[in-house]
């Protein structure tokens, strides 16, 4: 039996809810807060502890320098629910004056040309890393300013376990599996940690493998965007294949189906798990839950077939700050001032302090502090030697929304790698059509 109104909301969401929110969009003019030169800005960020902390620290430091401008930090959920909030508020003109969102393909889904303020003519854009600019641009403009650092999608590993078992950092997939088998043999730790209680964590085998894809075919991303390269074919298929192999060899932790991201990070930190394919933003999680393990958890790239091309798949700062077109007049001026402040070394220092660094900065003049955790300092050699490639989501606007469910299904042995890759190719087609790309 059903409490009617809650169930009814589904249909209402599809039909009534949209029309209603569209109708209400007109009524938001004339916000408060512009008495005697003082400006109050709203700043929407996701509710991750680290994000909120950094945003508030930055807002405070900025207000200390500019007493006329106060910034109020608002929060939204993370993940797909948060995407929903951002898209809906943007499209109805209800967005906060500043907001944090992803760069790369997720940004493209916001239709930046129509919804965001173009920053291309600002001086600070010249200070940005070229790859970063690529990840926040369309053909018509540059839209975002980074908050935080770049990071890598790689394998977090427990250095103590490696020392104890005398293992070496693997440079090929076979070596990696051999290491995992050795850990399994020793019996003290889960060889590879997976945490499908948070479905997004399941994607790393596929997304983190992209350096190896590009190593085999440097034009893969372009072909992919043009509907010429597919995940069912090598080299991209390897990610799905590896995931299936790891499951079939029974290398996952016992509770992989229900464990959460935070559990996964703790497991590697405490030695309950040996490897955890993850983004290095886990450094902030580690600093919160297991600060004592800062030097225990290291990083190496997700290996492919060829030891020569072994390198990191790199993500540009996912926390990027945008200004919606609905911000106007003196609020826009104030928002621009805040963005400029974000690109100063002073602001970078605040970011590095309030939140454990997850990789190198992408703004010229910003340096990491000396005492970064091993997870991050292990990345530096790859950056120095140029053994890095951008992740696919920064090279192509297409990312299928169902990847996390598909990789959970493959990693849990529910579907095969072939089937999963084929499903993902179909999923991607929807996204490409929605974006109106040619050739789909």
């Amino acid at each position: 039996m059903v409490p009617g109104p809650t169930r009814r909301s589904i249909v209402a969401l599809g039909a009534g809810g949209l029309a209603l929110s569209l109708a209400l969009a007109g009524c938001s003019a004339g916000d408060s807060g512009s008495a005697d030169g003082e400006v109050e800005l709203t700043f929407l960020v996701d509710n991750g502890e680290a994000t909120v902390g950094t945003a508030e620290a930055l807002a405070e430091a900025f207000t200390a320098e500019n007493p006329d401008i106060t910034i109020e930090v608002e929060t939204r959920p993370q993940g797909a629910d948060g995407d929903n909030v951002v898209k809906t508020r943007l499209s109805t003109g209800e967005m906060a004056d500043l907001f944090q969102y992803n760069s790369g393909s997720l940004l493209q889904a916001l239709n930046p040309d129509q919804t965001l303020v173009n920053l291309a003519d600002q001086e600070y854009v010249d200070k940005f890393d070229e790859n970063f600019v690529k990840s926040v641009s369309t053909e018509n403009g540059v839209y975002g300013v980074p908050m935080g650092q770049s990071m890598a999608g790689a394998v977090l590993y427990n250095k103590d376990i490696y020392a104890e078992l005398g293992l070496e950092i693997p440079t090929t997939w076979d070596e990696f599996i051999a290491n995992a088998e050795a850990v399994k043999e020793a019996g003290t730790a889960a060889p590879i940690v997976q945490t499908y209680g948070d479905t997004w964590t399941s994607q790393l085998f596929v997304l983190g493998d992209f350096n190896n894809v590009l190593a085999e075919d440097p034009d893969w991303a372009e072909k992919y965007t043009n509907n010429e390269a597919k995940y069912v074919d090598e080299p991209a298929f390897a990610g799905f294949e590896h995931l299936q192999e790891a499951f079939e060899k029974d290398l996952f932790n016992e509770d992989f189906a229900s464990a959460l991201y935070a559990d996964g990070v703790s497991m590697v930190a405490t030695g309950e798990g040996a490897h955890y394919p993850m983004l290095t933003f886990a450094a902030s999680q580690l600093a919160t839950t297991n600060p004592e393990a800062a030097d225990v958890v290291g990083t190496f790239p997700l290996p492919g077939d060829d030891p020569e091309s072994n390198g990191l798949t790199v993500w540009m700062p996912t926390n990027t700050i945008y200004v919606p077109k609905s911000t106007e007049g003196e609020k826009l001026e104030a928002a621009q001032q805040f963005l400029e402040f974000l690109t100063t070394p002073e602001a970078c220092d605040i970011q590095a302090e309030s939140n454990a660094p997850q990789g190198p900065f992408v703004v010229e003049g910003c340096e990491l502090p000396e005492d970064v955790p091993a997870m991050v300092s292990d990345l530096q050699p790859y950056f120095d030697e140029g053994k890095t490639n951008l992740a696919l989501e920064f090279l192509s606007p297409i990312k299928g929304p169902a990847l996390e469910q598909i990789t959970v299904a493959v990693g849990s042995g529910i579907t095969s790698a072939d089937e999963g890759a084929a499903q993902y190719d179909e999923d991607v087609k929807k996204q490409a059509q929605q974006l109106g790309l040619e050739g789909w």
């Binding site: 039996m1 039909a15 009534g16 797909a80 929903n84 929304p401 469910q405 529910i414 929807k430 929605q434």
Partner: protein
């Protein structure tokens, strides 16, 4: 659609409490002037009619909230090609019929039990109804914790008596059933309430007459209570079936349609498309859901009610 079923509900509900009279309802002339209806009419048109008609149009477009491109029936073609759709359809029916059936049976039994002369009847009635009042999402999150295969209280308790509990929500073969179980627990109170109301409305004279004829408890139940509870049963079946077909919140809170796609239902498939920004596609999905629910519930409602009138 929502309003049509809502009026169906109240009609069926009214029958449940009224004695099964044979008098036909006459169309009454409205005592109000026409302009009395305008405020409600405006609300109805703006909040229900316009969005419903708009959704039929948007289902035929590729829609980003910013641009609309008319693409004919492509959304429907694509919707039916979704890999998770087949699972979604099958799961929707399993879920709807399972929860609906269980609520009828359990609701009837509990209704009989709670309308008999027992100690603390009021308290017991309140207890069985309590879960209906709790937020569905809250219940979902609570049971997610209770059903955790590692350290969740349910499996811990089972371990005490030597049973190894299953991985309720993470085992693909039983995840949907676990959610259905919680749905039944949460919803059975309302079914019970409807049955109790139906039972109270049965005139005592029938039982007295049967007693004179020497009928026992079983015959009383089989030949008086059960047939006269038909209107209540119709209400319970329709309400829970509609609810089951459209069920979403509990599934979303407990499994998110996972692991993988194994506990996806139509509504969660649609929701995920909406989340991904495929607004035209998900609107098409809602139109399909509307048609499916209508195609099942209208004939069923007609059939159940017609049988009732024949008597």
């Amino acid at each position: 659609m929502t309003t049509a079923t809502a009026s169906g509900r109240t009609a069926a509900g009214a029958e449940a409490t009224a004695p099964p009279a044979s008098s036909k309802r006459k169309p009454m002339k409205s005592p109000y002037p026409t302009w009395f209806f305008i405020p409600a009419g405006v609300f109805y048109v703006v909040l229900f009619l316009v969005p419903t008609l708009a959704s039929f149009y948007f289902a035929l477009t590729r829609w980003t909230l910013f641009d609309v491109e008319f693409i004919g029936l492509d959304n429907f073609v694509r919707f039916f090609q979704e890999p998770q759709l087949v699972t979604g359809f099958v799961n929707t029916f399993i879920y709807a019929f399972l929860t609906s059936g269980a609520k009828v049976v359990l609701g009837l039994l509990l209704g009989v039990f709670l309308s008999s002369q027992i100690i603390a009847r009021g308290f017991l009635r309140a207890t069985i109804f309590f879960p209906v009042l709790v937020s569905t999402i809250g219940v979902g999150i609570l049971f997610k914790v209770l059903m955790d295969p590692f350290g969740g209280p349910i499996n811990e308790s089972l371990a005490v008596i030597g049973i190894e509990g299953p991985a309720w929500l993470t085992d693909p073969s039983i995840a949907l059933l676990s959610v259905a179980l919680v749905d039944i627990w949460k919803g059975v109170g309302l079914a019970t309430l409807i049955y109790i109301a139906g039972m109270v409305a049965i005139p005592q004279e029938y039982y007295e007459a049967a007693k004179v004829d020497g009928a026992g408890a079983w015959n009383n139940f089989r030949h008086i209570t059960l047939p006269l509870l038909r209107p209540a049963t119709v209400t319970v079946v329709l309400l829970s079936l509609i609810g089951g077909l459209r069920s979403f919140d509990l599934i979303w809170a407990m499994t998110g349609g996972g692991p993988g796609f194994t506990s996806d239902v139509l509504a969660s498939v649609i929701y995920k498309q909406y989340q991904a920004g495929f607004f035209g596609l998900s609107t098409a999905g809602n139109v399909v859901l509307f048609i499916v629910v209508a195609a099942i519930v209208f004939p069923l409602s007609w059939w159940l009610n017609r049988k009732g009138d024949d008597r």
